[in-house]
Symmetry: C2
Subunit: 215 residues, 2 copies
């Protein structure tokens, strides 16, 4: 048929994501994006339709790469609190890249674009929910080891009326949701502090203090 494409869209998105993450949406021009991806306006518009389309693709790429590493960290075995501490430490690591301390693209997007860009806002919200669900899953994994486990439960349920059980379950689930949402926001908070120029020691203390809310 015709000439073949000479670039890989996925690679272009990855490069564009780096630029957007570093400089934000408005301060990244098509020429900048063209330079950093090595693609040229024709290619970018042909595949992504617009600067905005490319940006949305970059948001998806962020979730599939950076955020995926956080979610993976939350799948680690062990006590929830320790897993969370490790995951948040990993988050902090991920906020620094060869481009500098660029923070979290989703957090940056929330403040720069969300109120005026429904599509970007939807992706940010979905991302927050994704994080919260991962935290909640981890928290509930520990809260109810009711299923057959190898080790015996440390805290044996004493004097637990059957009627109250459902209420307890609800309470536990509710608190887990609150803490999970809080931790998802904390992930954004880490990105925010990195972006604000705080050093790792200070952010480490922030994480340590936030963990006190896990209970």
């Amino acid at each position: 048929m015709a000439r073949a494409r000479e670039f890989e869209p996925e690679e272009a998105v990855a490069a564009a994501m780096r630029l957007f993450r570093s400089k934000g949406y408005h301060d990244s021009s098509i020429r900048d994006l063209s330079d950093c991806t090595g693609v040229g306006p024709y290619g970018l518009y042909g595949v992504f339709g617009s600067k905005h389309g490319l940006f949305l693709a970059a948001l998806d790429h962020y979730r599939k790469t950076v955020t995926a590493e956080v979610l993976q960290a939350l799948e680690a075995p062990g006590p929830a609190r320790e897993v969370i501490a490790e995951a948040l430490a990993r988050v902090l690591e991920l906020m620094e890249t060869p481009d500098g301390r660029v923070g979290c693209l989703m957090c940056n997007t929330a403040t720069e674009l969300a109120p005026q860009d429904p599509e970007a806002a939807a992706k940010v919200k979905a991302h927050l929910d994704l994080l919260a669900e991962a935290f909640q899953k981890l928290l509930l994994r520990e809260a109810k080891p009711a299923k057959a486990g190898k080790a015996a439960p440390k805290k044996a349920p004493k004097k637990a009326p059957k009627k109250a059980l459902k209420q307890d379950r609800g309470k536990v689930r509710e608190e887990a949701r609150d803490v999970a949402e809080f931790l998802a926001a904390t992930v954004y908070g880490i990105g925010l502090l990195v972006r604000a120029g705080q050093d790792d020691a200070q952010i480490g203390r922030y994480i340590k203090t936030a963990l006190k809310a896990v209970g």
Copy 2:
């Protein structure tokens, strides 16, 4: 001598601050600012020198108005934890304005500009420190009621060796600093969540959970 100025710089800054807070720096044009302040490019450049100068003035104005209300809330009497809860609730109120849920200008600036704008970054950092100091002062006010107080101290110091006193003081002070820094970051976190489009109920749960870290 000559013709008098027809606008009040302070009012112009206030209007510019509202626009910057709503749309960010890069998405607010001189024409927009000219329209919303009613001043015209000549006046703006004559007084503020540049768009960037006007923005820095807007950051100062934010501290002197919005943040001042938060600092005032932190001066309220009563148990630290309750005062903090009230102050954070006040923060949430302040994030909504006639222009919508615009969030915190300092938080927005941290993510949009700080890495590439040293002057803005310095103001953001100073603002964070200001908040942290206010929280720390409040926390320490409660931690050491050593000075002559009307009511008797509830927790009488039992078996406290003189040598350990200094160390305890240091520990208390250190923990107060950590919590204070955490709470300052929480203020930004509230602004971030507002900007991300979370509703008040969700942010209220975030505040409630964060308060668990106060201890």
